[in-house]
């Protein structure tokens, strides 16, 4: 299986590079990476499901919105997500179905995804994006 994401150096905060063969996979893997660093869901409890629907003007803006929406849901609903199905994705619109469980343990408070030096880049094998998080 190809790499979903990796953590990269940042002096004060946290940054990841997410990968995807297509844009949808990139969005799913960015969310997966963020939660992998942040918290663990309880698998014993019934799964929680959420629908996410967002609008923006470009992929970068949509990616930041997507991650910030998940941070918001994680914080106010006390849930941690591990599966991300991106149903619709265009530069203007995202619809997704996410699955997870009640948060079991938190390892890191990620409080926001930023636009800092954010670029979604096309590579030989798909797409990659570097995202800096405020912690």
């Amino acid at each position: 299986m190809s790499k979903k994401f990796e953590e990269i150096e940042h002096t004060a905060d946290l940054a990841i590079k997410a990968y995807g063969q297509g844009m949808r996979e990139l969005f799913a893997n960015a969310a997966y990476g963020m939660f992998a660093l942040m918290a663990e869901p309880s698998l014993e409890e019934p799964a929680c499901q959420r629908e996410v629907s967002l609008e923006a003007t470009d992929y970068e803006g949509l990616l930041v919105d997507w991650l910030n929406e998940l941070i918001y849901l994680h914080e106010v609903e006390g849930e941690t997500y591990s599966q991300f199905i991106i149903e619709t994705l265009s530069p203007a619109k995202l619809k997704a179905h996410v699955t997870g469980g009640p948060t079991k343990s938190k390892t890191k408070a990620i409080k926001a995804a930023t636009f800092h030096e954010l670029k979604v880049v096309k590579t030989g094998s798909g797409y990659e994006a570097t995202i800096v998080f405020d912690v």
Binding site: A12, V64, E75, V76, K108, A113, F115, H116, V132
Partner: protein
Amino acid sequence: MVNKQDFKKVEEYVYEIPKSYRPDMRVPARLYADEELLEAALGDRSLKQLVNTATLPGVVKYTLAMPDIHQGYGPPIGGVIPSRTSTGVISPGAVGYDINCGVRLLRSNILAEKVKPIMDDIVNALFRGVPSGVGRSGDIRLSNRQMNDVLEKGSAWAVSQGYGTKDDLEHTEERGAMAGADSRKVSGKAKKRGSSQLGTLGSGNHFVEVAEVEEVYDQEVADAFGLFEGQMVVWVHSGSRGLGHQVCTDYVRDLQQAVHKYGIELPDRELVCAPFDSPEGRDYFAAMACAANYAWANRQCLAHRARLVLDDVLAGLVKDRELTLVYDLTHNIAKVEEHPIDGKPTELVIHRKGATRAFGPGMPGLPADYREVGQPVLIPGDMGTASYVLVGTAEAMKKTFGTSCHGAGRVMSRRAAKKKIRGQELQQELEEKGIVVRGGSMAGLAEEAPAAYKDVDRVVNVVHSLGIARKVARVVPLGVIKG
């Protein structure tokens, strides 16, 4: 990449990247540092971020960074961006996500010697009594109406609920409430994130610390601040929690449109901004003021908890257990201030991101009892070394728009710190030095290790030597709770 030779030395401790360095710069960019701190800043992307700040519309004289500079997102941490209110911009990214992250210092009439033998008990009691840790809720629940009151009244709301005294308000920057706060400009999402977090410390670099005034450098000013050698004091460092982060997130997103509308070109989207004098700019300022007020109310509630805990744990040991607020100030904020530009008093919006206001004697807005000496400038260092109390000066008004540094500044990434340092060993090492530390997680503790920070003595020496803030006292940690 910015190189050392791109800087010109203006005077001792002042380095400048000229406007000609990049065509999009509108003013030069300055770094206040010694040579070693300058070299350290070359190690990450902070200087590129500093140059980026000089491209914002309406910036005047120069943008600058303090010796505790390090990489942020948008501007560097330690950055100061002065912009005209008439023709300039306000930028949520230049204030940061933790709006009004700040620090307060409480003094006592207790000798540190007296409490050192029971520091374990004190720290355990604080750890139990002050809600801390990742995403932790507190015991204050706010209705919608109460939330709007907190957002518009700040510390005064907390005092009205019995969490502190009127004297606390006198000794808080802006008296704990920014003017212009309008709770209608804060989203429902932000309010929801904040509804159960008031009176909680949070995680990361936030802390409550019991400390000792180790050395007084300026007796006259120390007397004015009520500080003496051997005294037990308490630090509280926290911010606006999830609410502030959501306000920043909301406006960084919304203002992406404003940039197009007003034809502003940016080198980094995180520097997104709007003209200060525009509907978008005014809306952000009103929402930012709300988040700042939430943070002041939060530190007021945290200090109240710390007071209760210490009163309880020290009962029977000392009679006078009162903790009096020396000062509370903000590290992340945009404020409207008047500064001379080309000899004329000019209204500016000063963004301070990881920087402290350092107003000198006679400046408006200082508490009556500090007006003659200048405001306290509180510089929390890392948990194993020291913190400083300084005093603002007239020199700061000339050189740095009335600003000083805010801490030691990180030098090692959190990831590297976690790899290099084990939380458990660090805790032991600190205990051998007589510092008791409790944290939510060992990994979190490792990220905040002293080795991850610059040398605070060195950082403070730069601001002291430049005269932008003068050393009053050095304070050493005895017991720390980390979020």
